[in-house]
């Protein structure tokens, strides 16, 4: 049983490293969309992995942890979609490296204030 617990702990460690990388990405990336790409997604995977690792360590907890993972999987993409759509509507300046912007919003006005 000891090895299983260590494997679970290592999975949790991996997840926390992803969380750290997400934090790094959110600091380093140049504009909002890239921050969402690097930050929110990496920390979502990190959270899922670390909860999964806890489930391996302590198999009695697996049901409740599965529900949490399910909720995180559903809700997180929705929130980043809403915030990125709002940011695009608001006319956030994108980084100079941007190649193309095919989304033309008919009702798009420059930012609100």
């Amino acid at each position: 049983m000891e090895t299983l617990e260590i494997i679970g702990a290592l999975v949790t460690l991996l997840g926390s490293i992803f969380i750290f990388l997400g934090g790094l990405g959110i600091v380093r990336m140049p504009d909002l969309f890239n921050r969402i790409q690097a930050g929110t997604k990496a920390s979502t995977l990190g959270t899922i992995l670390s909860l999964f690792g806890l489930a391996i360590i302590n198999e009695a907890w697996i049901w409740k942890l599965l529900v949490i993972i399910f909720f995180v999987l559903i809700t997180n993409p929705v929130s980043s979609n809403v915030i990125s759509r709002a940011a695009h509507f608001r006319g956030i300046k994108m980084t100079d490296k941007t190649v193309a912007d095919l989304l033309v919003d008919k009702s798009n006005k420059p930012g609100e204030e």
Partner: protein, 233 residues
């Protein structure tokens, strides 16, 4: 400048008063007698595994009754202050429509949020949670509906009926405790059951269902009056 000085003086007085408390603080290493009584006798007297629930619903049930009343008064005053003067709904049409993802996700998530709220207040005597948290979660579910479909309307009649029924039910449970058991809001007039089962702790699950519906409908009516008020001015 004098004003700023007076403000600083006020703040300094506040800091002195509380710093006196904090310097002499040393954490307690054992429970005080009241808490010890609750910890030792709570499981046998009330039958609830969650002692916080036992305190909220039975030992200090009057506090809860007063608290629900305060919330009701707050909801009523908010509704009164924000009474709609002219309700023409032309503004809602100018709103930007939510994205399709949010709409579809809300049809999936709203039942799930309601399920979680129901779980929280029905299991209030076993796990953390109870009527207040469950009611707040349910109000958040209603909030989700408003966010995803800004044009949706709420049935005021249904809200007030739910609130009235649950309030009457809560008081009725208290009076039943007074008649059938030893005191107001005593839960022991139903069998206490085995500690840790879902149908245990006497009347606590029923009381929590009432509290949950009441808190949920009150918070919903606060949100509703804030929402509808946007149509004027």
């Amino acid at each position: 400048m004098i004003k700023k000085g007076i403000l600083l003086l006020l703040l300094a007085g506040f800091v002195v008063v509380i710093s006196n408390l904090i310097i002499n603080f040393s954490g307690s290493s054992e429970l005080n007698p009241l808490a010890r009584y609750y910890a030792e006798n709570g499981p046998t007297e009330v039958g609830a595994a969650n002692l916080v629930t036992a305190v909220v619903v039975t030992y200090r049930g009057f506090d809860t009754l007063g608290e629900v009343t305060i919330l009701f008064i707050a909801a009523a005053i908010v509704g009164f202050f924000l009474k709609i003067l002219n309700s023409n709904n032309n503004r809602t049409s100018s709103l930007r429509k939510p994205s399709e993802i949010l709409e579809t996700a809300s049809t999936l998530l709203v039942p799930t949020i309601f399920m979680l709220g129901t779980y929280i207040f029905i299991n209030g005597h076993l796990t953390p949670g109870g009527g207040f948290q469950g009611g707040a979660v349910i109000a958040t579910g209603v909030m989700m509906i408003i966010l995803a479909r800004p044009t949706s309307e709420f049935n005021h009649k249904l809200l007030s009926i739910l609130e009235a029924i649950s309030g009457i039910g809560f008081v009725l449970m208290g009076v039943l405790g007074l008649i059938l058991a030893s005191g107001f809001l005593n839960n022991a007039f139903l069998p206490l059951g085995k500690l840790g089962n879902i149908l245990s702790a006497g009347a606590i699950p029923i009381i929590y269902v009432f509290i949950g519906i009441k808190v949920g409908s009150e918070l919903t009516s606060i949100l509703n009056s804030l929402k509808e008020n946007q149509n004027e001015v």
